[in-house]
Symmetry: C2
Subunit: 327 residues, 2 copies
Amino acid sequence: MSTALASIVIRDAPGASAESRQRILQAADELGYRPDTRARMLRSRHSRLLGVVFGVQHAFHGDLVSGLYQAADRIGYDLALSAVTPERDEQQAVSSLLQDRCEALILLGPHTSTPYLAELAARLPVVVVARAVRHRAVDVVRTADDEGLHQAVDHLVALGHRDIAHIDGGRAPGAADRRRGYREALRRHGLDARTRIVPGGLTEDDGAAAAQAIVGISAGQRPTAVSVFNDRCATGVLDVLRRAGLAVPADISVVGYDNSRLARLSHIDLTTIAQDTQQITALAITRAVARLDGAAVAHRELVIPPTLVVRSTTAAPPADGAGQRPR
Amino acid sequence: MSTALASIVIRDAPGASAESRQRILQAADELGYRPDTRARMLRSRHSRLLGVVFGVQHAFHGDLVSGLYQAADRIGYDLALSAVTPERDEQQAVSSLLQDRCEALILLGPHTSTPYLAELAARLPVVVVARAVRHRAVDVVRTADDEGLHQAVDHLVALGHRDIAHIDGGRAPGAADRRRGYREALRRHGLDARTRIVPGGLTEDDGAAAAQAIVGISAGQRPTAVSVFNDRCATGVLDVLRRAGLAVPADISVVGYDNSRLARLSHIDLTTIAQDTQQITALAITRAVARLDGAAVAHRELVIPPTLVVRSTTAAPPADGAGQRPR
DNA sequence: TTGAAAGCGCTAACAA
DNA sequence: TTGTTAGCGCTTTCAA
């Protein structure tokens, strides 16, 4: 039995008889043989390894990573994870993946500059997830965030709300699109004049601060509904509103964004906009592999529609119209 | 210039003149040379790579991963991350790391059986973090969880509480020790008779359910303080208590565990027991490397004392002694 | 269908 | 201090 023949069998490649196959497989099993990934990669210039950069603190990235593992597994690719932490920035995370000889990079909600991403994309295929990037060399898979806010606003308007505020995400990936979606939706409903954007952010604390501002508004002037940048921020909002004695949704409705595990918790039970993580992750993997295979790609940017998930933080505005005219 | 000389310079190994050093470094820079980690590992039988298995949904694991990166970086080791997700179990996570030819494994709060861990430890050094494992081949770095609950109970007793319940973590890593610590501390204060353990778990939902049970107790019988398995579970508890109209800490005090980012949020501001993640991660890395170097190890298990962090969810019990006698 | 031989990019041992 | 040589464990020709 030559090593070459063994190689064929182990890789499940064509060109070995059924008999040899069985014998080699059995021997391998007895010896506890494990192919050495490094040697294999060294020789075959083809690692079947996709690098993923994610934020270790982001619950939503966790959901994406789960989906990526599944999608990669289905087509026989492996994932190399590299975390962004408070002390480890995206460039460090990327550079460790490059050393691992990944074939392509998948970046979750990266904050790095477009020029840097472009430079990276010149070296290997780069797929950015959950953030818009305007550069012809960078592939993007993201949710139609403007559409998400249309749905949120439409839902609230259908419930009877006229005074809807938006707590935004500042410079976070996706924030600009969501802000724009909010503005457009209000305009479509002829509510432009009531546009109110409250500075927020990604975290619970950002939401808490924004909610303080809203609580500070006199009852007659206060919005009857708030759409919030993301679920995490929305939980901060919920907490502050309730502690200030405002009932949700009786006094004020709240809509989140992401449909993260947080939103699904029974005691939070947040109405939110769900990003289709299964599809997003599947497309990200497919796209990365398509680039590796040199396949032609029709659309550089894949924009996935989100869906509204109604839970218990939205309802009709107070019957006395507390939010619309002074009592 | 031979490749061997170049190798010496690139690795920053002794044995090259300052002049060659500079010339080679400059040439490498111009060519955009990056050493191929795989080839390097293949040759040197020594990957300087430590495998880490973590739960992608665990905020606390995120903190640990951050610390591990820092500690590994300091001694020139790299980390290979492998996530446990709802669809990817620990064994899968481990086996992908083995293929990557990691030199040692660091497992964060693993749920796998001791026999499996032992089998693993027979192949390469295994350091388990944040869970007790009784096996001579497996190293452990963990917090003195019983001590943590002593501190929580001591703090509450010092504030004047006599009726203190514990919402436990079931079969989660560390839960048994915390339960025991709670029991011991009550006994030490002569409060054995008031021992009350409420079934809980790791998640917000588990906490919410446990809190419902507490809310259901008639006011006179209700504990005036609760220590909770972890911060995540405690946030569920807080939410349900407050919604039921119980003020925290005025009516009831709550202590969490972990000092995770969650506890530090301004609107939660949870009194909690801090695990020393910096020290735990540093020791985990040190220990793994010590095993690789074949160093003698005095104590297989490193148990780190936690510290109490007092925030705003604990205070003296209600003046009317509502929790101690029927009104 | 099988085996022999070459070599992926690097490092280690040795010789010059 | 530098260069030569061999080989890590695998895959890939190519010839038998």
